[in-house]
Homo-oligomer: 265 residues x 2
């Protein structure tokens, strides 16, 4: 699976403070730590500073790329901030995080996806917000994928996020996300799925345990990618085990290799 | 989910030795430990002694019932051993482990299920052994459930076991089991599913981690029960988390309660 490291996100208190202080060393350590831990992409978000989001996105992209060769997942609801990040992006194929079916933003983000031949994280929501049943959620996801493809973007470029809401708020929020992932993979086998994992455990104790358990369920439902904490060793171990159990690790070679290297430590 | 404690099984070396030595205290401790840990049923198996299986099944049932009030899962390929255990069973509704579509055994076991109004663990195999694709496995499961129901047994009495084989042997053995569980629950919503979990990890290092991960996947696919080690605290925690994530724990109350009681220790 594609691991998008979640750490460099200004909605996290310590990161917000580090950005306010221009604490480059702290932020670059988040970049290098996640890279060493096995992330495939690094998420970069400066949205907690709406007045300066564009400039701060530029700064974050620059300092992150000094510390890591990974491609970035440019995370903003503001197309201007995404565009600023894309202009500086230099390692591989960027991910635009995100597009939705909202009428005012859709064409602006599609334009950026096409100009930069980027991957795009597509949130299953439109102008009416987040739907409350599996059927409605999938209908939004299906329309969004079709709308994006109708603009000349390939399904392989799309990472559909079913939008995970906390299971502590409504009992079936986990099931809605899992079933949406399953249906998207059935209807669009070449499109990808992703999610912001940690929302599932909001409001509950021992969130990391819940996140890991839900990630395993989502991988079994067909999840291709997730925005997660790659510094969570237990979670990264679960990903390797899940790959083996889902037939993605021939003769369980990667699992056995990872296990042996852990034993040596 | 229904937890069937796996410990009192003569195919395990220490248990075989304890049975040979008539070490009642050792075996009764397995019974009481599993009961305290939250098992719903205790599996009892004397099959490693084919010459004395019937008498040893009687002895195991008696000493287990002295140590635990739980109902038993009488585990034998030999209908005579099952019958002997059923005659002594006194706590609740027994589980017969197991019935298959094999022509010589099917009518004998069905007779016992009906006489004792028992639950029955149904293995998805027939005279041709274990099938190698999801479609074939489900076809065997479907026919077996229909054959059992045609004898006047209710679907609610059936616990279909898809038969889990090691993922180290064939890459898609995990997927075959998961898909069979999912299809059985779709086609027979009132029938139950179960599995002997630990087969999945045979031949691999760190088996407990793999077992837990696969249990989570199977629960998300619709698993109702499993034969597991209830003394594995991490596994029992996963079951509680999975219940919450799958909408079976209103407001996550059981999860929060379990977490708090753990914190006090």
């Amino acid at each position: 699976m594609l691991i998008i490291g979640e750490k460099i996100n200004s909605t996290r208190k310590m990161v917000k403070q580090a950005i306010a202080d221009k604490d480059q060393a702290f932020l670059q350590k988040l970049a290098s730590d996640q890279t060493e831990a096995g992330a495939d992409y690094l998420d970069v978000n400066s949205g907690a500073f709406p007045q300066e989001e564009v400039e701060l996105m530029q700064w974050l992209v620059e300092i992150t790329q000094q510390a890591s060769d990974l491609p970035l997942c440019l995370d903003s609801p503001n197309p201007a901030a995404i565009a600023a990040g894309l202009a500086l992006h230099k390692n591989g194929r960027p991910i635009i995080n995100s597009i939705t079916a909202e009428a005012d933003k859709f064409p602006k983000v599609i334009k950026l996806v096409k100009e930069h031949d980027a991957l795009v994280l597509a949130l299953a929501m439109g102008d009416d917000g987040i739907t409350k049943t599996t059927d409605d959620r999938f209908a939004v996801a299906k329309n969004l994928i079709e709308d994006i493809c109708n603009q000349g973007v390939q399904p392989e470029q799309i990472y559909l996020d079913p939008l995970i809401q906390p299971v502590s708020v409504q009992n079936d929020f986990g099931i809605i996300a899992l079933e949406t992932i399953r249906k998207v993979k059935q209807h669009f086998p070449t499109a990808n799925t992703t999610c912001g994992l940690s929302n599932i455990s909001f409001g509950l104790p021992r969130r990391a345990d819940i996140n890991r358990c839900f990630l395993v369920m989502a991988l079994a439902a067909g999840l291709d990618s997730a925005i997660v904490d790659p510094l969570d060793n237990e979670l990264m171990k679960m990903v390797k085990i899940a790959d083996a159990l889902l037939g993605k690790d021939r003769y369980c070679k990667n699992y056995i290799k990872a296990f042996r290297s852990t034993e040596k430590k």
